[in-house]
């Protein structure tokens, strides 16, 4: 399908065109990890959370990191986000080495981390306010993103008045409003019911297709990974490492009923199971 057709979403909204143009200017950046490892030391004991991760992600690519909990996926996201530093190795985003957090890479969490003292509108405006945008401009941008995540009419609602799925939509709008190059999603839909999750998959796919952001999506749900990713990387725990890589070239938008998707899910599942069996056999000491 043509991505270009979906891109200029603000066409026909002449009033906001200039802001929208600025808003959609940054598409994704590439990501490169070279031999990245992270060792935590705790009370004199060292635990390797990640070993020797080498990974290349193209600009605008949707990559899913799949693995059981404790395999260092979230650690990897924190490293990319710049909230943590690798013990060895280098991380480059768009060719530039990562030095601390930056608004070009936004993290999204399972708990959405919306601010309960702000309503939906002000939550979405938050990053824009920090960037120093004047109130009118940030209100207009926030309104557009709220519309794009189908929450028009909920601008004045507070977080506790929203369902889990709506909270994730607000979090996505809040992240995209500051026009990052990369979304780092840490099991964002993990706590949602299956129906809501499926809907959010579709919405996320649509937004991604329109904005061409690079997405790194962490999950332990095989079907979710296959449904969303251009590529699925399977992680093995203790220490976290990549044990499998799948290119998912199914047509988009993807349907969960697609038999191809079911087949690929089974393939990925097999690798995940093998990694798990291996992990059990070696008691997690297979360094």
């Amino acid at each position: 399908m043509s991505m270009l057709g979906a891109l200029p979403w603000a066409v026909g909204r002449s009033k906001d065109r200039t802001q929208a143009g600025a808003l959609n200017s940054a598409s994704g950046l590439s990501l490169r990890l070279e031999d990245v490892s992270r060792v935590f030391s705790h009370h004199g004991q060292t635990v390797a959370a990640l070993t020797s991760i080498t990974l290349e992600v193209a600009a605008g690519e949707f990559v899913c990191l799949l693995g059981p909990s404790g395999c260092g996926k979230s650690t990897l996201l924190n490293l990319i986000a710049g909230l943590d530093t690798p013990t060895t190795g280098a991380i480059r985003v768009g060719g530039q080495p990562v030095e601390g957090p930056g608004t070009d890479r936004v993290l999204l969490f399972q708990e959405a981390a919306l601010f309960p003292w702000l309503d939906v509108q002000r939550n979405v405006e938050f990053g824009l306010k920090q960037a120093g945008l004047p109130p009118q401009q940030r209100a207009a941008i926030a309104r557009q993103w709220i519309e794009r995540v189908n929450l028009t009419g909920f601008e004045r609602h507070y977080v506790h008045q929203l369902s889990g799925g709506m909270r994730q939509r607000v979090a996505i709008a809040r992240a995209l409003a500051i026009d990052p190059a990369m979304l780092l999603m840490d099991e964002p839909f993990g706590a949602l019911d299956a129906l809501t999750r499926d809907r959010l998959h579709q919405e996320l796919e649509t937004l991604w297709a329109a904005t061409r952001k690079t997405v790194i999506f962490v999950t332990h749900n095989v079907r979710e990974a296959v449904a969303l990713g251009d590529r699925v990387l399977v992680f093995s725990p203790r220490p976290g490492r990549i044990v499998g890589e799948f290119h998912i070239d199914l047509p988009r938008p993807r349907s969960l009923e697609d038999p191809g998707l079911v087949t690929r899910t089974a393939e990925v599942m097999a690798v995940l199971r093998a990694a798990d069996a291996d992990e059990r056999a070696h008691g997690g000491r297979g360094r």
Binding site: L83, P101, T103, F115, L118, G127, V159, Q161, I178
Partner: protein
Amino acid sequence: MSALTMTSRTTPAAERADWRPWLRRGVFYLALLAVWEGLARSGLWPGYLFPGPLTVLGALWDGLASGLFVRGALASLQRIVIGYLISLGIGTLLGLLLGRIRVLDETLGSLVMGLQALPSVCWLPLAILWLGLNERAILFVVVMGALFSITLGVESGVKNTPPHYVQAARNLGARGPALYTDVILPAALPAVLSGLKQGWSFAWRSLMAAELLYYTLSLGNLLQTGRDLNDAAQVMAVMVMIIAVGVAADQLVFTPLERRTRERWGLHR
């Protein structure tokens, strides 16, 4: 208690039953006033030492009509508002620092905890020595009354702020002072409010104590004048004024603030 908190959640049956506590309260106070009036009329104690509620009401009316009580209350209010605002400024800053900087918490934090245990009117002799018996000494005592409660309230609020708010905010570009004003303080608000409220009531108590000693027109001083004149009715009437101001501050400032915060955050009782 209020119609606002009741509307969304309670059943019609609960709303119908809502007048009952008020009825019981009304009966209680009427009975109390009747017993009081009865005792005052019994002749057990002289009237100037133990006046009945009607006499006190008369004294209250006289005080209000002459403008004396109103001017006294305004003078006291002015002091507490100024003193409280100073405490709010210093206490917020201090609480933030203690909540975010570990070394300060371990050192200065323990001192604040210790000083919190000291009733602030104990500062009055020192304040008089340092500043003289004047407006500034009174203000000093008020500030000391509210400061530590506010500091500790802000500190615990800041410490208990879920780290993922700060993480999300930094990730969205919040830096430096904005991180404090836009995230850490508002996130701490529900916990901070109880400290603010306690600070207010401590400051109000200290102010009354300090005003007993300081001869300018004020609520605390009107108590002292009543004593000097052997006029228990005036003393009691002023006590009613002091309670009224305290309750009004609570009902007009702190309760609405708390309710608004709770509603926003979805923290229902």
